[in-house]
C-alpha cells in the first residue's frame, strides 16, 4: 500500500471556536492507482491532502491520526524529512496555476530548482531534465519557453508547467487539487488526457480532488465522497456511479444537468453544507436528508461496507434494501432521460 490514511483529523483553532475541518477520514491508495476525492466547499477534501503533505500552518492546528506513506507516518515526520519527500516522492499541483507559480522567476528557474533540491545533478543536467519534462507535458519549443515567465504562458500552459514541475523528480504519488477547475473545457480535456498519459508513462499514483463528477468518472479508479469533514461514501468508480448508497451521493448525481439529455427539473438538495464549528449532531447530513429518521439525528453512522461488497463503504443508517431501490431508481431515471 503506497499511502494509508487512518482516522485523520485536522482541527483549526479560531477565534470563534474549533473548526473541525477533517474529522475522521480513512482511505488508502495503491501504486499506480487513481483516487478521486469529491465534495463541495467545506467538505474537507483539500485540507485532507494539505495535512498529509504537512502544508498546514503549524500554529493553531491540531492533527491526529496516521498518514502512512510506504509505512512512514508523515504526520510525525520532522520538517526536514517532509522537505525531502515533498516534490520528490509526493508532489502536489494546485488549483490556480497563476498563484502557485512564482511570478518573478522564469519557469525554467523554478523547474531547475525543483530538480536540484532533490537530485545531485549539475545545473546543465537539471536544465536538460526540465526541458524533457516540458516536452512531455506538451509545451511547444520547450527549450526556448524555459526562459519565459508565468505571465507569458496561458492558463492551460501554466497548469502544464505545474504538472511538469510536479513530475520532474518522478514522484510515486501526485496530488492534484482541482487541477482543471480554473480552465476552459477544451483545455481541461487536454490536461485530463495528459495526466492519464503521464500516469501510464511514469507509473505514479494520483489523488485527484475535484467537485466535477465528470472528471472523477473519467479518471478515478476509486472514489471518496466527502461531506462536512467526513467520508460519506467510498467505492470503486463504476460502483459509485451505478449503485450509489448514500442520500448525499444521490443528491449530487441527481443535481447534475446533462449534456446528452433534457432533464425536466434538477434534483435539489435543500439547505447548504453545515458549519464545521458546530456540525449537526448524529449524521451531519441529516438536516438536509429527505430520508431522515430519528436515529439519524443522534447517532453518527459508521462507515461500513455493503453486505455483498466490502469494497463499497457508506455511512448511512438507511437499510440496504431501500438504498438499493433508490440507487436503481436513480440509474433508471438517468438511462430513461438519455433515451
Amino acid at each position: 500500500m503506497l499511502l494509508e490514511v487512518n482516522d485523520l483529523k485536522t482541527y483549526f483553532q479560531t477565534d470563534d471556536g474549533i473548526v473541525k475541518a477533517v474529522d475522521g477520514v480513512n482511505f488508502s491508495v495503491e501504486k499506480g492507482q487513481t483516487l478521486g476525492i469529491v465534495g463541495e466547499s467545506g467538505s474537507g477534501k483539500s485540507v485532507t491532502c494539505l495535512t498529509i503533505m504537512g502544508l498546514n500552518a503549524k500554529k493553531n492546528t491540531i492533527t491526529s491520526g496516521e498518514a502512512l506513506f510506504n509505512g512512514e507516518n508523515l504526520l510525525t515526520a520532522g520538517s526536514r524529512r517532509l522537505r525531502e519527500i515533498r516534490g520528490n516522492d509526493i508532489a502536489m499541483i494546485f488549483q490556480d496555476p497563476m498563484t502557485s507559480l512564482n511570478p518573478v522567476h522564469s519557469i525554467g528557474t523554478q523547474l531547475v530548482e525543483a530538480v536540484q533540491l532533490h537530485q545531485d545533478v549539475s545545473k546543465k543536467g537539471a536544465r536538460a531534465r526540465s526541458v524533457e519534462l516540458l516536452k512531455a507535458v506538451g509545451i511547444p519549443r520547450a527549450d526556448r519557453r524555459m526562459d519565459d515567465y508565468p505571465h507569458q504562458f496561458s492558463g492551460g500552459m501554466r497548469q502544464r508547467a505545474m504538472i511538469a514541475m510536479a513530475l520532474v523528480n518522478d514522484p510515486d504519488l501526485l496530488i492534484a487539487d482541482e487541477p482543471t477547475t480554473a480552465l476552459d473545457v477544451t483545455t481541461q480535456a487536454q490536461i485530463v488526457n495528459l495526466m492519464k498519459k503521464l500516469q501510464e508513462e511514469f507509473g505514479s499514483a494520483i489523488i485527484i480532488i475535484t467537485h466535477d463528477l465528470g472528471v472523477v468518472a473519467e479518471t478515478a479508479d476509486d472514489v471518496l465522497v466527502m461531506y462536512a469533514a467526513q467520508v460519506a461514501e467510498q467505492a470503486p468508480v463504476e460502483k459509485l456511479f451505478n449503485r450509489p448508497h448514500h442520500p448525499y451521493t444521490w443528491g449530487l448525481l441527481g443535481s447534475l444537468p446533462r449534456l446528452d439529455a433534457d432533464v425536466d427539473r434538477l434534483v435539489q438538495i435543500p439547505g447548504q453544507p453545515p458549519s464545521l464549528l458546530r456540525p449537526p449532531s448524529g449524521c451531519r447530513f441529516h438536516p438536509r436528508c429527505p430520508y431522515v429518521f430519528e436515529k439519524c439525528k443522534t447517532v453518527d453512522p459508521p462507515l461500513v461496507g455493503i453486505s455483498d461488497d466490502p469494497s463499497h463503504l457508506q455511512a448511512c443508517h438507511l437499510d440496504e434494501e431501500t438504498k438499493d431501490r433508490e440507487a436503481a431508481k436513480l440509474l433508471a431515471a438517468t438511462m430513461a432521460q438519455a433515451g
Binding site: 463541495e40 476552459d184 463528477l213 463504476e238 449534456l259 427539473r265
Partner: protein
C-alpha cells in the same frame, strides 16, 4: 407568435491599445466582440457559451449599455438603444437587469440586504418607503430567503444565498429581460441546482426573457431554448438547443461538446474528445478569414483562410436582414443539409446530417 425583445445587429466592441505617454497613438485594438448579430424572442432563454476570451461577457455588457458599442445596433423592445444618452437610457434600464457571476463581489458589503434589493426601486422612484419594504420582503420570499433577514449584511449569507439576493435585486423592478452572466459558475453543484430551478420557476411565473451566459455546457443545455456558441468575438453557431447538442454543425462546437467530461464511468472512458491543437489566439490579432481556421480539424486550405463565412440569414432573424453574398453572387456559407445557423463553409457530404458522421 412571440415578438423579438432584443435584436443585436453586427455589434462590435473593440478596445484600443495605445502607446505613448503624452501623445497616445493607437497601435492596435482588442477585438473583443467582432460583428455579432442575433435576436431573442420574448419569453425565451438564449444561452451563450464560449471559452475565456470569446467575448461573451463583453457582449453582455454591451447589451446592457454598460459599455458603448464601437459599431452596430442594439434594438431593445423595438427601440434602438445603441447610442442613447444617459437620461434617455434611464427608463429603458427599468426593463433590463443583470445577474452577475461572483456572489461575493456583486453585492455591496456595506449595505444591508434590504437596501441592496430596493436600490433599483429607489433610483427609479417607484413606491413609498413602506411599499418598497413590502416589495423587498416579498422578493426575498420569492427567491427562497427569509424575509426577516432584511437587515442583514451580505457576509452573513452563504454563496448560494447571496446569489439569490442578486436574483431578487434583478427582479425588483419587474424587468422584461434579465442578462445572467455566469450566475452559477461560482456555486457548488447542489446549490447550482437550486438557483437553476429558481430561475426557471421565475421565468414561468413572471414571463421573463433570459440571456444566459455560461461556460458550462451542461448547465446551458438545461436552461436554454436556443444556444449560441462564440469564438474569438464572433458567433460560430446558433441553433435550437437540441439541434446544437445532438447534431452540431460547426467544428468548434463539435470539439467543445466532445471535450465535456461525462459523469458516467463507462461512457466517459469511451469518449474520444476532439483535441484542438494549441491555444486560443489573441483577440489583438485574430486570424484572418475564418477565425477558427488555424485550429480547425476540418481546415481547407485556400478556402477557410481566404473567405470569412457569414452566418446564414435564417439564423439572424434580424429586421431587414439580408443574405450576405459571396463574390460570385451565390449566397455564401450554403451547405448541404439542414443548416440553421453556423458560420462554416465546410461542406458536409450529401446524406451526412452532422459533424460526427
Amino acid at each position: 407568435m412571440a415578438e423579438d425583445l432584443l435584436v443585436v445587429e453586427n455589434v462590435k466592441k473593440h478596445f484600443p491599445v495605445t502607446r505613448g505617454i503624452i501623445f497616445q497613438k493607437q497601435i492596435g485594438a482588442v477585438k473583443a466582440v467582432d460583428g455579432v448579430s442575433f435576436s431573442v424572442k420574448s419569453g425565451e432563454t438564449l444561452g451563450i457559451v464560449g471559452e475565456s476570451g470569446c467575448g461573451k461577457s463583453t457582449l453582455a455588457r454591451c447589451i446592457m449599455r454598460l459599455l458603448d458599442v464601437t459599431d452596430g445596433k442594439i434594438v431593445f423592445d423595438g427601440r434602438d438603444i445603441s447610442n442613447l444618452s444617459r437620461p434617455a437610457m434611464r427608463p429603458i434600464r427599468r426593463e433590463m437587469m443583470m445577474i452577475f457571476q461572483d456572489p461575493y463581489a456583486s453585492l455591496n458589503p456595506r449595505k444591508r440586504v434590504g437596501a441592496i434589493v430596493s436600490e433599483a426601486l429607489e433610483v427609479h422612484k417607484l413606491g413609498t418607503a413602506t411599499e418598497t419594504k413590502r416589495r423587498v420582503q416579498e422578493l426575498l420570499e420569492v427567491v427562497g430567503l427569509n424575509p426577516e433577514h432584511y437587515n442583514r449584511f451580505p457576509h452573513e449569507f452563504s454563496g448560494g444565498q447571496r446569489q439569490r439576493i442578486g436574483v431578487a435585486r434583478a427582479l425588483a423592478i419587474n424587468p422584461k429581460l434579465i442578462v445572467c452572466d455566469e450566475p452559477v459558475s461560482a456555486l457548488d453543484v447542489s446549490v447550482q441546482a437550486q438557483i437553476l430551478n429558481l430561475l426557471e420557476d421565475l421565468q414561468q411565473d413572471f414571463g421573463l426573457t433570459y440571456v444566459f451566459i455560461a461556460h458550462d455546457l451542461n448547465v446551458v443545455r438545461h436552461i436554454s431554448d436556443r444556444v449560441m456558441v462564440m469564438y474569438l468575438g464572433k458567433i460560430a453557431e446558433l441553433a435550437p438547443k437540441v439541434d446544437l447538442y445532438e447534431q452540431p454543425k460547426h467544428p468548434y462546437t463539435g470539439a467543445l461538446l466532445s471535450a465535456v467530461p461525462i459523469a458516467d464511468p463507462a461512457r466517459g472512458r469511451a469518449r474520444r474528445p476532439i483535441v484542438l491543437e494549441g491555444d486560443v489566439p489573441s483577440p489583438l490579432n485574430p486570424p484572418n478569414a475564418c477565425n477558427f481556421h488555424p485550429r480547425c480539424p476540418r481546415f481547407q486550405k485556400g478556402h477557410c483562410d481566404v473567405e470569412d463565412p457569414p452566418l446564414p440569414a435564417r439564423a439572424l432573424a434580424a429586421r431587414g436582414g439580408r443574405v450576405p453574398k459571396a463574390g460570385n453572387g451565390r449566397p455564401a456559407g450554403r451547405t448541404v443539409g439542414s443548416v440553421l445557423g453556423r458560420r462554416c463553409s465546410f461542406r458536409l457530404s450529401a446524406g451526412s446530417r452532422s459533424y460526427w458522421s
